[in-house]
Structures are given as structure tokens and as C-alpha cells.
């Protein structure tokens, strides 16, 4: 997908038409992990909103303002009206901006999806924060939590300026982000998840912090369907390490097996922590991903 450059566009990440559709969408977390503070996500406990939830017997000390006097007049017993408690959902966006994400517009797709998730959160009065993990000095890598429509512009600006580069693995990126984060909600990790490290610990940390783990794996077309022949010396874009392979065409099948195994592992890790996982092609159409794939898998609602 080409990045729009017209001045009439709100952001260079996607077109306004896409933005309009995103504004009508809401995140759909698996559980209600919300903050005590005000928000638009309904709490399981009684709240102070205008939406009626239930009745309960009056108990000493209850605020008399919530007594339903109509019921009291008919039944001569006091009942307290309970309202749905609308709490604030914290949406944490962790964008892997390492060098490996610079291939085949993977970082762009990560920024697009982060913008989409962020906008959905902001327009639903959630607290949205973002972390771009890379090693480039002097570049902003944290977007502090904020909520409300007025935070859309800073979010888009933050995402647009992420340049990428460096060799920080995604597990380190998660731990780094957690050091600056407080609050319950969901965390969306946008990465290729191509790391030699163990993701169990960072995901456990996220889960124990009250965050529902959403993993979005973004792979390039050459990573999903590599076409190689002969003898090659593969060079890691992040570490510069090399690996010699012989007769690459015979290894492709094994590569596919390994890729699928990695996806299954990531999916299991996320699901065990009340999360969800999806793998997407960076070359796939953004509309298809947002409005079809994610919707069908229950990530967002329209």
C-alpha cells in the first residue's frame, strides 16, 4: 500500500477513507481488564453511569440517592439501583522497530496497524500509549498514555516519525516498555517475532501486569514464501551474522515447517495468557487486514 502524500490527508500512514472506517471501529478485548478510572468499557461491578444494571437490597451506609423510590413505594422495601460502571481500558502499542522490520514494508505495516489500534482506542476514550523499540539515539520512542480525540494527532505524528533500525530483540523491547507502563488493558505487540530469545518471560510479565497480549506477526512476502536456489550465504540484517546454506531449494520445505511451528508457538503463548495472535503478510492490503481479517477473528468490531 502506498503512503498518501497529499496535504489533505490526515496522516501519511493511510488514506482518510480508511481513517473514517477505523473511527467507527472498537477494540474487542477478550476480558475486561480495565482501569478503575473512568472509561467507556463496562465494568462487571456497579458503576455510576446512566445505564441501569440491576437492583440489590439496601444496606446501611448506602447512598440514599441510589434508592429507587418507585419500588419502595410499591413494595415498602428499599432497593438500591445499580448502574453499569464504565471503566478506562489501557491500550499499549509496542512497535518492533528493529532492522529486520525494515524489510518489505514490515515496519510501515506495523505503524499502520498501530495507528489503527491507537485511533480505535482514543476514539473510545481509552488511554493509549505507544513504544517504538530501536537503538537510534535522539529519536522519540515513547508516546505517553493519553486519551481522547485530541491525542490522535500526537499518536499519528509519533508513529510517522519511527525510523527503525538497530538490533533490539522483541523480548527486550517488551521488557523495556513495561518499565514505563502502568495500567491494565491490552498490549498489542507488532513485530515479526523473529528472535532467538524466549518470549515466555516477557509475555508473563505483560500478563501479570494486567495486560491482555495481542500478538501481530508481520512477515514479508519473501519470508512467507522464499524462493531460493543453489548455495547462498545468508546475512542477518540485525547482527550481521552469516549462515551458509547449500542447495537452498531443498531447504524451503523445512523452512515452511519451521515458520508454521513458530506461529503455532506464538499463538499458544498468547492464548495461554488470555490473548490472541495473528500473522499477516506485509504485502497484503491494509483494508483486507483491518476490515476483514481482524474483524473475522474478533479483534475489532465495526
Amino acid at each position: 500500500m502506498t503512503i498518501p502524500s497529499s496535504s489533505s490527508q490526515l496522516t501519511s500512514l493511510f488514506e482518510n477513507s480508511v481513517l473514517n472506517q477505523i473511527e467507527r471501529m472498537r477494540l474487542k478485548p477478550m476480558r475486561r481488564l480495565t482501569n478503575r478510572s473512568r472509561g467507556e468499557h463496562l465494568s462487571g461491578k456497579g458503576g455510576s453511569s446512566t445505564d441501569f444494571a440491576d437492583y440489590r437490597d439496601y444496606a446501611a451506609g448506602d447512598d440514599l440517592r441510589y434508592v429507587d423510590w418507585n419500588i419502595f413505594a410499591r413494595l415498602h422495601r428499599p432497593y438500591i439501583k445499580q448502574f453499569q460502571h464504565e471503566e478506562e481500558l489501557h491500550v499499549v502499542l509496542i512497535i518492533d522497530a528493529s532492522t529486520s522490520m525494515l524489510f518489505e514494508n514490515k515496519l510501515l505495516r506495523a505503524r499502520q496497524l498501530a495507528a489503527a489500534f491507537g485511533i480505535m482506542g482514543l476514539l473510545n476514550v481509552e488511554r493509549v500509549s505507544a513504544y517504538a523499540v530501536h537503538q537510534k539515539q535522539g529519536e522519540q520512542w515513547i508516546l505517553p498514555p493519553g486519551s481522547g480525540r485530541q491525542k490522535i494527532r500526537p499518536l499519528l505524528t509519533f508513529l510517522e516519525q519511527i525510523g527503525g533500525g538497530g538490533n533490539v530483540p522483541v523480548e527486550k523491547a517488551i521488557e523495556t516498555a513495561l518499565r514505563f507502563h502502568r495500567g491494565r488493558g491490552i498490549v498489542v505487540i507488532l513485530s515479526d517475532f523473529l528472535t532467538l530469545g524466549d518470549l515466555t518471560r516477557p509475555l508473563n510479565l505483560l500478563y501479570s501486569s494486567g495486560l491482555e497480549v495481542w500478538g501481530v506477526q508481520i512477515l514479508g512476502d519473501s519470508e512467507i514464501n522464499p524462493v531460493m536456489q543453489g548455495d547462498l550465504r545468508l546475512v542477518d540484517s540485525e547482527t550481521g551474522e552469516t549462515l551458509d546454506i547449500t542447495n537452498a531449494s531443498e531447504l524451503v520445505n523445512i523452512y515452511h515447517d519451521q515458520r508454521l511451528w513458530l506461529q503455532e508457538t506464538l499463538d499458544t503463548l498468547c492464548r495461554r495468557r488470555n490473548g490472541r495472535f495473528v500473522s499477516t503478510n506485509s504485502a497484503a492490503d491494509l483494508r483486507s487486514v483491518l476490515f476483514d481479517q481482524l474483524c473475522r477473528q474478533g479483534w475489532v468490531t465495526r
Binding site: L194, S222, Q229, G230, D231, L232, R233, L234, V235
Partner: protein, 626 residues
């Protein structure tokens, strides 16, 4: 047992080129670099492949291994390896090639003769001749002939092989083995090779000084041939001609035998023979003049060998046997006179004179005409036996006699007494007689009573006692003995029986003494021979089946035909063992000529194939990623 040897072993030093090859390989080895986002998945792929593919390390340096293998094969070809055979291990190798008549037998399917197959093997062997090996070629039939000396010149050897032709002679190894032993005496020979079809005489009177390898070619197709052609007089003008035809086929073979008299067909007869069988045919012939008979066999269907299908025989002119008996030998004259077909002379006294008599009976050694085919001397001690045998005035008795001698056949001498006794002089014995060419036919109690001496076509019997001083003329055996002498003379003069002459050497002829004659063979080639002082013309080679004319100037004085007439050759049978004087050698059927087998071209061929494979393997996809 075969071993690998190298003609150019020093070529192994070229293997040192593998060192710079390895260095250059690692210096020049460049894999196309491909930057990818992360090695994580590929690392897992490689680890997984290493677990599941134990030859991954090998495949990683496949190019280097292929190049080293290519270098090794090229160096191997350069070193010219060869698999040494046991026979080919020696430097000098005599090869004896059978060129007997059976080698001309053809295979029904291919039409190739046995000699053609042997020549193919020989030419192949010459092509594989090692640089330090030398061959000497001999051919043999009934005698041997050296074709080449020890040489490694392939051109000379091939020329000699290509010039080989099958003769019309039977095969015998004796002569060529003696020739080979004599020729190779100064060379380090430990074995020789005989290439034959196996149709040779199995009894060989020769002490092997070396080992012998017999290489046999496959047996040819079916064959029938004439193995005997003879005639016996049945009347003053009548002859019975006998022809024996033998077969060498598992199936019954048919044919027609045609008889020609002086070139004119006079009779024919159909026949059937199978393997190891023969059929004897009889043809009556009436003639009084010298007649040249030809028996011609016309087989029905395929016949491997043509040589044994024609045989010639010369019938002599009919005449009585001319016998001269000394006038004093009345008992002998009486005994001869009663015999038929005999013309007796000598009753008038004097010597026989000239050569006109077929048999002479005399009591004196010094008579003119004593060179007749058969001479019987009575009461004569040959002059060359004067120092060995002496005559004593004693009664002698017969101790033993040679019952198989033509003269003494059916003769009983057990009670004969002799009034004078030939006795050995002290210190002398039978050995001294044999050294002078005499054979004792009758042994007396003191010495020999009758001796025989053969000289060319002449045979002379010496009664060392006078028969008139013995009881011999009064015994029944005496006329039988005289009749035996006449019968022997008839045979000697070819008046009662004649047989066809086999190929080899023409039979001796009685001609004018000291005179040159020309012998014209079947091919028109002529040889000039000179008769001996005794009027014998002998030694004319007759290696080809056919008619030989004896010419005196422009006149043909007689014609003699020859034939193969060898049952062994016509049978095409293969001997399984060769019985030498001391050892027995087995001849394996179908054995091929064992020789060094060069491997350099094999190595070169594999190297070329390897190079093509390497090119294909590395050019089909060289580091391409799309």
C-alpha cells in the same frame, strides 16, 4: 589373481596438485550473499537438516570433493593403471596359434571361422599390450612356425596375425612346443599360451619346461567329412574302393558322396551320419590303367569345414608282382611259384639287375638290384654286423620271434632247428644291432636268427643262417612266411592295397635316379625336387588338399591327390586334457585370453562424466533467489 599396476607410476606426484586446488578452492569460493531480516528461521532449518541429513557436511563441500575426485581420476588415467593377469605379468609372452584344418571350420550363425575368433582375441590382446611386454607369435598345424620374434611392435604383430590362415593339416603341439622351448631358452619364460579350438592331439611327447595356458574358442557348427579313402584289389582288373565318412553333429546329417575317375563322375551314393559315427561306403572300380580317383562329399545343409570334403587316390596300373629268387634257393622258388599274381624270375642264374623287381630273395648281399622294395637275404650276415654277430657251427634253436612282423605273421617257429648258429660276439648284444638300424625278428639261443632293416621305402630281411641248413623249409610255416613276404611286397608295390595320401608330405615315389622333377600343387605353385641316387623322390610338401602333378620336363609322369583324412580334425572334437610326458594340462572351454587390462581410458571416461555432472550440478541453479 590380478593386481593393479601402473605404467607411469611417477604420475602420482601430480596428486600434489590437490594442495593448490584446495587453497584455490577456499580462496575462490564465493557464495552469493543474501541479506535477510533474520537468520532465526534459517538457523532452525539448518539445524533440522543436520539432524535429518547426515551427509550435509559432505554436501557443503561437494564442489571441492568433486574437484579432488576429478583430479584423482585424471592423475589415475595419467598413471596408466592396468589390471595384471597372471599370464600377462611376465615380460615375454609366447603365444602359439592353432592353424590346423579344424580352425577353418565356420560357425553356422556368424560365418566366422575359429581362426577368425582367435585373431580377434589376439588383436585385442595386442592392443592391450603393456609397454614393457613383448609377444612372440608361433603358428602350428602338424609342425610349428615362428611368425615373429619377441617384440612389442604392434604393427608387426598385427601384420603377422592378419596373415594367419587355416591350413589343411592336422594339429599337433609337439613340434611347435620344441621350437618354442628352443627359442625361449634365453628368455625368462614361465608360461606360454596356446590359442586353439581344442581339436589337437591330446598325447604330446614333450616335457614341459614352462606352464601352459590353453585358450579355447567355442566349438563350430556341424560337420561331416571323409576320413578314409583306400582301395583293395579284388581281381586282376577290379578294385574295391572304400570311403569312410564321419560326422561331427548332434543331429543326423545327410549328404551325397560322389566318385570321380580321372575327372569323370562314375558313381554317387547317399549317406547319413551323426556325431561319433561313421559310414563306410564301397564302390567297385574296374581299371587296368593308372587312375586318379576323387571322392567328393556334398553335404546337405550347412557344413562347417570344406577341407575334408574332397580326397584323391591314385590306382596303379594292374601288373603281376615281379619276384627274383636266387637259383640256389630251391625251397624259396618252389614256395613262390605256387603263388598267384606273381611273376617269378632268377631260375636261369645270374643277378636280378636293375630295379624291375618288387622282391628279391638272394643268398648274397652283393647283388645288383638289392635295392628292390623288399629284399630277403638268406645265410647272409650284413657286413656292418660283422663285428657283432658271428656264425658258429652249433645247433641253434628258436627262442622267440616277432609274431606281428609282416613276414612272420601266422608262422610257427617253435620246433625249428638250425644247423649253424649266429651268435653275438662277446660284449655285443641287441643294443649294438639297434644302433645300426636293425631289428631282431627271430631270437635264437645264442644270437639273432633273423633281422630286419628299413631304409626309406626299402625293407631288407636278413636270415643270418642258411635256411637250407635248418628244418625251416620242411615246416608248414615256411610257405606261409614266403606268402607273407610276397604280400608285403604287393603292399609295398601298391599292387594289392592303396590308400589316399594325407596332407603334409607327398609319399615317396620311385623315379629315375639323380634327376630333377617339378611338383605342381593344387594352386599351380611348383617346387623342383631332385631324386636320390636310389631313384626316390621324396620330401615334397603337400599342405593343401588337392591334386599334385609330378612333372618331368613338360610331361606329367604321375598325379597324387591328398586329403585331410584325419578323423580327429573332421570330428571337431575338443580335447579336455593335454597329456604331456609328465603332466596333464586341462583346457577350459570358453576360456578367453587372459591379459593385462588397461584402465586409463576407464578413469578418463569417468573423469569426463564427472566433469559433465559437476558442470550440470552447479550450473542448474547458482545462488538465485527470487
Amino acid at each position: 589373481m590380478s593386481w593393479l599396476s601402473f605404467t607411469f607410476a611417477a604420475g602420482a606426484w601430480f596428486l600434489a596438485a590437490s594442495v593448490p586446488l584446495i587453497i584455490l578452492y577456499f580462496l575462490k569460493l564465493k557464495r552469493p550473499k543474501l541479506e535477510i531480516p533474520s537468520l532465526v528461521l534459517w538457523q532452525s532449518v539448518v539445524n533440522d537438516q543436520r539432524v535429518n541429513s547426515p551427509f550435509q557436511k559432505f554436501r557443503r563441500n561437494l564442489l571441492l570433493l568433486l574437484q579432488l575426485l576429478l583430479l584423482f581420476l585424471i592423475v589415475l588415467a595419467l598413471m596408466q593403471p592396468r589390471v595384471q593377469s597372471g599370464a600377462g605379468a611376465s615380460e615375454y609372452m609366447p603365444i602359439l596359434v592353432d592353424c590346423s584344418a579344424s580352425m577353418g571350420a565356420k560357425d553356422e550363425a556368424t560365418g566366422k571361422t575359429r581362426l577368425d575368433l582367435v585373431k580377434e582375441q589376439l588383436l585385442d590382446r595386442i592392443d592391450r599390450l603393456g609397454p614393457d611386454q613383448k609377444l612372440a607369435l608361433f603358428s602350428f598345424a602338424d609342425t610349428g612356425r615362428r611368425l615373429t620374434e619377441f617384440t612389442s611392435d604392434r604393427r608387426d604383430l598385427k601384420r603377422a596375425v592378419n596373415a594367419l590362415t587355416a591350413s589343411d593339416l592336422p594339429g599337433r603341439l609337439d613340434d611347435v612346443l620344441r621350437m618354442t622351448a628352443a627359442y625361449t631358452r634365453t628368455f625368462p619364460i614361465d608360461r606360454i599360451t596356446v590359442m586353439t579350438d581344442g581339436n589337437i592331439s591330446s598325447q604330446i611327447d614333450f616335457e614341459l619346461p614352462f606352464k601352459i595356458d590353453v585358450v579355447k574358442v567355442d566349438p563350430p557348427g556341424p560337420n561331416i567329412g571323409i576320413t578314409e579313402f583306400s582301395a583293395r584289389r579284388s581281381g586282376p582288373e577290379d578294385w574295391e574302393v572304400f570311403v569312410r565318412v564321419a560326422g561331427a553333429s548332434a543331429d543326423m546329417r545327410e549328404g551325397t558322396l560322389e566318385l570321380y575317375e580321372n575327372g569323370q563322375k562314375t558313381a554317387d551314393q547317399k549317406l547319413e551320419v551323426a556325431v561319433d559315427e561313421s559310414q563306410r561306403l564301397v564302390f567297385p572300380v574296374t581299371t587296368t590303367e593308372p587312375t586318379l580317383l576323387e571322392a567328393r562329399l556334398v553335404p546337405t545343409g550347412f557344413d562347417s569345414m570344406q577341407t575334408d570334403n574332397s580326397v584323391w587316390l591314385t590306382l596303379p596300373a594292374a601288373r603281376p608282382l615281379r619276384v627274383w629268387v636266387s637259383s640256389e634257393l630251391n625251397a624259396w622258388k618252389h614256395a613262390v611259384r605256387v603263388l598267384t599274381q606273381v611273376e617269378l624270375a632268377g631260375a636261369e642264374g645270374g643277378g636280378p639287375g636293375a630295379l624291375d623287381y618288387d622282391m628279391v630273395v638272394s643268398e648274397s648281399e652283393d647283388i645288383e638290384g638289392a635295392e628292390s622294395p623288399v629284399s630277403i637275404f638268406v645265410g647272409v650276415i650284413p657286413s656292418d654286423l660283422a663285428g657283432i654277430v658271428e656264425l658258429r657251427e652249433e645247433i641253434a634253436t628258436v627262442v622267440d620271434w616277432n609274431r606281428t612282423s609282416p613276414l612272420l605273421r601266422h608262422v610257427q617257429l617253435g620246433d625249428v632247428q638250425v644247423g649253424e648258429s649266429p651268435a653275438y660276439i662277446a660284449g655285443k648284444g641287441v643294443k649294438d644291432l639297434e644302433e645300426r638300424g636293425y631289428e631282431v625278428l627271430i631270437d635264437g639261443n645264442l644270437g639273432p636268427l633273423l633281422v630286419q632293416r628299413r631304409e626309406g621305402l626299402h625293407v631288407a630281411f636278413y636270415f643270418l643262417f642258411h635256411t637250407d641248413r635248418s628244418t625251416l623249409p620242411y615246416r608248414l610255416g615256411f610257405p606261409i612266411m614266403v606268402a607273407n613276404g610276397v604280400e608285403a611286397s604287393l603292399k609295398q608295390a601298391a599292387l594289392s592295397e592303396v590308400a589316399s595320401a594325407p596332407t603334409g608330405v607327398l609319399p615317396a615315389l620311385s623315379v629315375e635316379p639323380d634327376r630333377e622333377y617339378r611338383v605342381r600343387g593344387p594352386g599351380g605353385d611348383e617346387v623342383t625336387l631332385r631324386s636320390s641316387g636310389g631313384g626316390m623322390l621324396s620330401g615334397a610338401a603337400a599342405g593343401t588338399v588337392g591334386r599334385y602333378d609330378i612333372l618331368d620336363g613338360a610331361d606329367v609322369i604321375t598325379s597324387i591327390g591328398t586329403g585331410l583324412l584325419n578323423p580327429l580334425e573332421s570330428s571337431l572334437a575338443q580335447v579336455q586334457e593335454l597329456q604331456f610326458t609328465e603332466v596333464t594340462v586341462k583346457s577350459e572351454e570358453g576360456e578367453v585370453l587372459d591379459s593385462d587390462f588397461p584402465l586409463w581410458w576407464t578413469a578418463a571416461l569417468i573423469a569426463f562424466g564427472l566433469m559433465l555432472y559437476e558442470w550440470w550440478y552447479f550450473q542448474r541453479g547458482r545462488g538465485v533467489m527470487t
